[in-house]
């Protein structure tokens, strides 16, 4: 101690540097602009001691007490560091540099209490406070009215019955009421209408759409090639079912994140996982680029990022993705938190998984799987010691089995080897061989069997092309109507195909393409090497039709660009003679397996043998299940090649400096946002080693009773769809960049009521809201009006709109413009064409051209009269790259973005679409046919049309010109005009 004092006395000669007097002014002058209150470049600021001494992303710590030469800050300002020079545009004076040097060398003394700024408490924000209600009010209206009174405003009067019925129909079901329904419910109490609409299956269809917007559900991958996802729809049906069955919200969340582990043996527990995979996916970045490459890593990073954003954004309304490159600039989310969330999803990819459409089969399936696994485990446990005992002989046999075909001396059973092209000096020469099937047939599966020849010590796979394609056509010259058999196309035509040995190469058509043709052609574009030259050879080409059956190519006529025709070994006819080398090797393999098994069993005693036999019998006796259905979901992938998946072992996740894949920092384990765990007291418990337990832990963290974000988020979303604006206007962002609640007490009251009193029932929440006076107010900002279309306005506005131009305080309802789906469904409904069939694969209102490679979704080729496309819009096949033009122009959600609130635009292009799109034009005709059936005489017909479209009785000054127009231009044109009325698109 004494020595220390002595030294410090000794070095501070003339005067010692004082932080406040000497150093802080330098920082103020030169650094605060970028590293102060306004900006914190590189997460670094010099106006707060703790950050200055320890913070800064890339170079922390920037100040090393006592060591100016090693302190990055000093190196940057003194010019010692050649790469980084600070400040970027100016220079410090030599006196300033000297002062800083001395200050650091003297120990960088920074007294407490002199900071001119404070680290912001990021938890000090409304959404990070626990749910709390100060004044327990009786209902929604008491909160709304209190706020209005406080602002000096009055609530509007209640809307008339007809207006309310139309409003509630669109709100709860997304469809207009019929005139008959209006009459019926006008005579019944309002709550009867509410109950009936909530019980209608149309309710689930309407509200599922809001949910699918949020989770950015789509049925193609997006990105390049934009392939269809034919098994995405079971998730859409799950969401509809969940709303219709009023699934408790907690369970709804848990199923979507971890239904497989939290609700095993249920259909919903599996189909709900479509949530994880709902968003876009880079097919090329996964299927063509392996994880070992940087591009492959980036693609998988983006993939997990999408899952993390989708989960936390949807359920907790937070923007965690902002913490990818640095600490979240506004909210209490660290980079480590963000990557721990990525670790939650590190075990899964997007893939089709099995499920059964009913819980009984699901349970059987789960039980069987379990039994099978148990039996297999027991068998393995018994066999392992025997295998070891069998030693080298066992290993040798295994090796022979693996390479059974290749190792075999001569697998050619007969001298008829196959087809052999003429020899080419260059590898890039194109060669083809084709089979004439005799007639045009549907082609479902094609098998190419490789040759065997010892020539050049090649053996199996002799002459099998390195790059090739398989095509089907009715044109023997393959110049027109050529269909590519596309599934493995990327693996065989764009990239080199590894020599398969004697393993047959098999490819299917897409199944839904319906490829038909009389000729099947294999074209090699990169030939197989022989010795110093190149050839194309195949032993057998087999073609199978849609139903499993005979080889359609058997014995059929073969042509080719060229052929060596060296009978009997090499000739064209050998391609379809049913003789290929692998059939015998398969038998060999089976024989070897039997041999190996006998060898292993011979090592055991009788008890073991009996036990093993019994176990094997039990396993073989397990009953088979019917073929399962598939859902595209977030799940463990057991793939191969570039798109291998994890096979259950989660990928290792590192924090990435600046979000850069090339700069991995520390490894992280699965977790959630730690500061929120502390604030709300939320456990994050991973209760097993399998990846699914990570997801289960996150699901439980989100649904915890004390996670205030979750409960506030959902009630706000529901509120938003009933009023056009949430109590918090930024429904996807409850952080500091988002808005504050307009009625924070009401928000918390709703959240608590929903969580505790309504037990997470969304239907009860809807009822609570739509029964309120606030909801039932008129949408007019005026006091009242005289009746009649020509009625003049009364004495003006209800409230001074300068008080609340945005109607945040809800002195009246908001008039709503119909969203894209409601417009489309309403057009179909009033035209009498709406098909209410529920569920199942989506209808496609486009024609797919060129499905082989990059499908072209041709909407203009769709016939608007196709009845399959007259179902509700929720069942529309949603393409990501090329969205449906009509729906898009009507502002439907972009399935590449998580949409909490749709844009609302008006443009001439929208007007043109409403006037001229095939939908309106075709439906106007049906609308006219319908009213001509339902009413007689033009006047009655127009009257009926208006009643259907606007849900009211027309005024004479509307009727007269429309009848006149209909008489001159036809009823269809009048109906088309009615569909274009403002009143059709706006709901009071």
């Amino acid at each position: 101690m004494r020595l220390f004092c002595f030294i410090s006395f000794f070095t501070t000669s003339a005067f010692s540097v004082d932080f406040v007097r000497d150093v802080r002014p330098i920082f103020e002058r030169h650094c605060y602009e970028c590293h102060g209150a306004a900006k914190q470049k590189n997460d670094y600021r010099l106006d707060i001691k703790t950050v200055a001494l320890t913070g800064g992303q890339d170079h922390a710590p920037n100040i090393i007490a006592g060591k100016s030469a090693e302190s990055p800050l000093f190196r940057f300002v003194s010019g010692a560091d050649k790469k980084n020079s600070m400040p970027p545009k100016t220079k410090l004076s030599s006196t300033e540099i000297d002062l800083l040097k001395r200050w650091i060398d003297e120990g960088a003394v920074w007294p407490e209490g002199v900071d001119i700024a404070q680290v912001e408490d990021r938890l000090d924000w409304w959404s990070f406070k626990p749910l709390q209600v100060q004044v327990a009010a009786i209902n929604i209206d008491s909160y709304i009215h209190a706020k209005l009174a406080e602002k000096g405003m009055k609530p509007a009067s209640q809307a008339d019955t007809r207006t309310l019925i139309r409003r509630l129909y669109f709100d709860l079901t997304g469809l207009p009421p019929t005139p008959e329904e209006i009459t019926k419910y006008s005579a019944l109490p309002y709550d009867k209408l509410v109950d009936d609409l909530l019980a209608s299956p149309r309710y689930g269809e309407r509200w599922a759409r809001h949910w699918l917007d949020l989770v950015h559900y789509g049925e193609t991958h997006g990105y390049d090639k934009d392939k269809p996802r034919l098994n995405a729809w079971p998730y859409r049906d799950y969401v509809i079912r969940a709303f219709n069955n009023d699934k408790p919200y907690t369970r709804f969340i848990e199923e979507q994140i971890a239904g497989d582990v939290l609700y095993p043996g249920t259909t919903d527990g599996i189909t709900a996982l479509g949530f994880i995979s709902a968003g876009p996916w880079d097919y090329i970045g996964h299927a063509e680029v392996p994880e070992t490459k940087l591009d492959g890593k980036i693609a998988r990073h983006l993939d997990r990022d999408d899952m993390v954003q989708n989960t936390i954004g949807t359920f907790c309304s937070l923007t965690v993705q902002c913490a990818q490159c640095h600490y979240h600039k506004f909210d209490p989310i660290s980079q480590e938190d963000y990557y721990s969330l990525q670790a939650v999803f590190a075990g899964v990819d997007r893939t089709d998984i099995d499920y059964y459409p009913d819980d009984t089969s699901m349970q059987k399936f789960v039980v069987l799987q379990k039994q099978k696994k148990q039996l297999t485990d027991e068998i393995v446990a018994l066999e392992d010691p025997l295998k070891k005992k069998a030693g080298d002989a066992y290993i040798a046999l295994s090796k022979r089995i693996d390479g059974a075909a290749e190792k075999n001396a001569n697998p050619n059973a007969k001298p008829d080897f196959g087809y052999h092209s003429s020899v080419s000096p260059s590898q890039d020469t194109v060669k083809w061989v084709q089979v004439d099937l005799g007639q045009s047939v549907q082609v479902d599966r094609i098998v190419l069997k490789p040759c065997y020849d010892d020539f050049g010590k090649i053996g199996g796979g002799f002459g099998f092309p390195v790059r090739f394609k398989i095509e089907v056509s009715d044109d023997p010259t393959f110049t027109t109507n050529v269909a590519l058999v596309w599934r493995k196309h990327d693996a065989t035509f764009i990239n080199d195909f590894a020599n398969p040995g004697l393993k047959p190469f098999e490819t299917g058509t897409a199944g839904d393409d319906g490829i038909t043709g009389r000729y099947v052609r294999v074209t090699a574009v990169k030939l197989a090497r022989r010795s110093n030259d190149y050839i194309f050879a195949l032993a057998e080409l087999e073609v199978y039709g849609r139903k499993a059956g005979q080889n359609l190519a058997a014995g059929r006529f073969v042509t080719s660009l060229d052929s060596i025709e060296a009978s009997p070994r090499w000739r064209r006819a050998n391609l379809t003679d049913g003789i290929a080398p692998e059939s015998r090797s398969d038998e060999d393999k089976k024989r070897l397996i039997r041999e190996r098994d006998a060898l292993m069993l011979a090592q055991g005693n009788d008890t073991t043998k009996i036990k093993l036999r019994a176990l094997r019998q039990q396993r073989d006796a397990l009953p088979p299940l019917p073929a399962p259905q598939k859902v595209y979901a977030g799940a463990v992938l057991h793939g191969s090649g570039s798109f291998k998946g994890t096979h259950g072992t989660p990928r290792i996740i590192h924090v990435l400096k600046r979000g850069d894949m090339k700069q991995p920092a520390q490894e992280v384990s699965a977790n959630s946002i730690t500061q929120l765990s502390q604030r709300f007291g939320l456990p994050f418990q991973v209760e097993g080693t399998e990846e699914s337990y990570r997801r289960a832990a996150l699901a439980k963290w989100i649904t915890d009773k004390n996670n205030a974000l979750t409960w506030r988020s959902i009630v706000n979303r529901i509120w938003q769809h009933h009023f056009g604006r949430g109590l918090v206007d930024t429904a996807n962002d409850f952080g500091r960049m988002g808005s504050q609640p307009s009625h924070s007490e009401l928000l918390d009251w709703l959240a608590l009521t929903f969580r505790d009193d309504l037990n997470g029932s969304l239907k009860k929440l809807h009822k609570l809201i739509v029964m309120s006076e606030t909801y039932r107010q008129t949408s007019s900002a005026f006091k009242s009006r005289k009746s009649g279309a020509a009625g003049k306005l009364d004495s003006g506005l209800l409230n001074d709109t300068s008080l609340d131009a945005n109607n945040v305080y809800l002195s009246h309802q908001n008039r709503r413009k119909l969203d894209a789906e409601s417009i489309r469904d309403a057009i179909l409904a009033v035209s009498g064409k709406l098909d209410l069939t529920m569920g199942g694969p989506s209808f496609q209102d486009f024609i797919i051209e060129k499905p082989q490679h990059s499908p072209h979704y041709e909407y203009q080729l769709h016939d608007p009269e196709d009845p399959k496309s007259h179902r509700r819009s929720i069942y529309r096949f949603i393409v990501r790259s090329q969205q449906q033009p009509f729906m898009t122009i009507m502002d439907c959600a972009d399935p590449s973005m998580r949409v909490d609130k749709r844009n609302e635009s008006l443009s001439p292009l929208q007007a043109l679409a409403m006037m001229n799109n095939g939908l309106t034009v075709a439906m106007a005709k049906h609308f006219a046919e319908r009213v001509s059936k339902e009413a007689h005489g033009t006047e009655a017909q127009i009257s009926r049309a208006l009643a259907l479209a606007l849900c009211r009785i027309p005024h004479s000054d509307e009727l007269v010109p429309l009848v006149d127009f209909a008489k001159r231009e036809g009823l269809e044109n009048a109906c088309r005009l009615i569909l274009n009325l403002n009143e059709f698109s706006f709901i009071d």
Binding site: G222, Y223, D224, D282, I284, G285, V289, L294, D295, I298, A299, G313, T319, D428, L484, R725, D733, M737, G738, A790, L793, L797, T801, N807, R815, K817, K850, H853, S854, D863, E865, S881, T888, I889, M890, M897, E904, S905, L906, S907, P908, L909, A911, L912, M915, N916, N917, G918, V921, A922, E958, P961, F965, N973, R976, L977, L981, E983, F986, D988
Partner: protein
């Protein structure tokens, strides 16, 4: 009464609600408009599939000298398809053009006439070698979908120049979309009227829904004339009782504008009004119906020429942003710039056709005095490797590629940023140019501060340039 300004705020879409907006030409200036604009309009030329800088614009004598030798990059190189063959010299010879003496490949020789108006950036870098991500990055500034295209931001920031044509027009390759399709020009979180409107010049339906669908045989031209008037009358009655809601008025006006567009668009797309000299300047063979089945330069020039001539007619008539695509998806036979197999086969016809048509566009704009305030940007998702892939093709090169710009305040005849000896990476690896810099420069020339043109979406103030972008001063006249 709610004022228009309040209403704009009400819609909760910030400035985007100018929605109705662009209907009445902007009465309000965006706060990002802080710079004196030099350009009013933009033409973006996008070569889908990744055009080879080495074979077109970036002359590398070292490759000629070392052609066929084993490629030594001095470091481990990760390529998209694993193919790393020997160095490959440019497929075509280069010669100097113009006062600037800029070396151009003979396959783009027609551009020689314009070279003194062009500024080259040879040190562009991307993020990945995956087409989809690369294309999105150049087109929207982000390598994942869900962000507005460049033209959408320009439409959003500047609004329209006329009111009877769309503000942002996209002329796709007629054979199909490049990677990501419309995701490259979707409005994403901006209101839908800022999305690019697709036009197929010369097609049966060049603009969708401009006229009634073919199932509407009951509709006569006269019907709509009377119909529009009656629609307005009825809508006005409805609106009079709801005067506080100006959306209703805007919707009525949108139908007036729709009617105007029905008149203006067909006229704008009718290239038969152009002289035959003009058409042949653009490489258009108007009456030719039959083309060879193999890809060929004359046919490519004809396609590209029609798009470029249409672009000029649209620009003249008030369209703000035209995006022209060359090259479709990766179908077969190959009709894009992704020359893995054979550079000469694909790049030859595509490049010559592009050069013929684009040079005509520049000459034409210049003689009309429009090049001064029309910015032209030529881009692609990334470049191609200086080595072969074993055969006659080149693999992806996201590590360096070329952009060029012209007109609209761009200094002609200059080069900013060089690639290295081989055209493999930037010469100065520490200071490459990114799409953010190109986008920032474009915005600057249009009079906008790229850091200020922002829209808050899901908690983040989004902009075209993400959190990056420096204006490239050397490019500005």
């Amino acid at each position: 009464m709610i004022t228009r300004r309040q209403l704009l705020q009400t819609a909760g879409q910030g400035f985007g609600a100018l929605a109705f907006a662009s209907l009445e030409a902007s009465e309000q200036q965006h706060r990002a408009l802080t710079v004196t604009p030099k350009a009013k309009r933009v033409v973006q030329l996008f070569m889908g599939g990744a055009a080879s800088h080495i074979d077109l614009f970036d002359f590398k004598p070292a490759l000629i000298k070392h052609h066929g030798e084993a490629a030594d990059f001095g470091e481990k190189v990760e390529t998209f398809q694993n193919g790393l063959g020997p160095w490959k010299k440019p497929v075509w010879d280069f010669k100097p053009y113009g006062q600037s003496g800029k070396m151009l490949s003979e396959v783009v020789a027609p551009l020689g006439a314009c070279v003194d108006d062009m500024a080259f950036v040879h040190n562009m870098v991307g993020k990945t070698g995956v087409h989809s991500q690369g294309t999105l990055l150049q087109a929207t500034g982000f390598n994942l979908p869900g962000f507005p295209g460049m033209g959408c931001w320009v439409s959003y920031g500047l609004g329209t120049l006329g009111d009877n044509l769309p503000t942002f027009v996209v002329l796709p390759d007629h054979r199909g979309f490049a990677s990501n399709g419309p995701k490259n020009w979707d409005s994403a979180f901006l209101p839908s009227q800022h999305a690019g409107t697709i036009i197929y010049p010369g097609a049966e339906t060049p603009i969708s829904d401009l006229f009634p669908h073919k199932s509407g045989r009951y509709i006569k031209a006269s019907t709509d004339r009377i119909g529009f008037a009656l629609l307005e009358e009825l809508n006005r009655k409805h609106q009079h009782q709801r005067e506080e809601d100006s959306r209703l008025d805007s919707r009525i006006k949108s139908y007036e504008l729709a009617a105007k567009m029905q008149l203006a668009a067909p006229e704008a797309l009718d290239i038969s009004q152009e002289s035959s000299a003009m058409k042949s300047l653009y490489g258009i063979q108007e009456h030719r119906k039959v083309w060879p089945s193999e890809i060929n330069a004359a046919e490519e020039a004809d396609y590209m020429g029609r798009k470029c001539l249409t672009a000029r007619r649209l620009l003249e008539r008030g369209v703000r942003f035209v995006q022209i695509w060359s090259g479709n998806d990766n179908g077969f036979p190959r009709r894009n710039w992704d020359s893995h197999e054979d550079v000469e086969r694909d790049h030859g016809p595509l490049a010559w056709g592009m050069a013929k048509a684009v040079s005509a566009l520049m000459i034409d704009l210049k003689q009309r005095g429009l090049l001064d305030d029309t910015l032209i940007l030529w881009t692609t998702e990334f470049g191609r490797m200086p080595s072969t892939q074993g055969g006659k093709g080149r693999d992806h090169n996201p590590y360096v590629f070329t952009n060029w710009l012209s007109g609209g305040g761009i200094k002609g005849g200059v080069t900013s940023g060089e690639s290295d000896l081989w055209g493999y990476k930037p010469l100065d690896r520490e200071n490459p140019t990114t799409c953010y810099d190109i986008h920032a420069t474009m915005m600057h020339l249009l009079g906008m501060d790229h850091e200020k043109l922002t829209v808050r979406h899901n908690g983040i103030d989004r902009r075209l340039t993400d959190v990056h972008g420096h204006i490239i001063k050397e490019l500005i006249a």
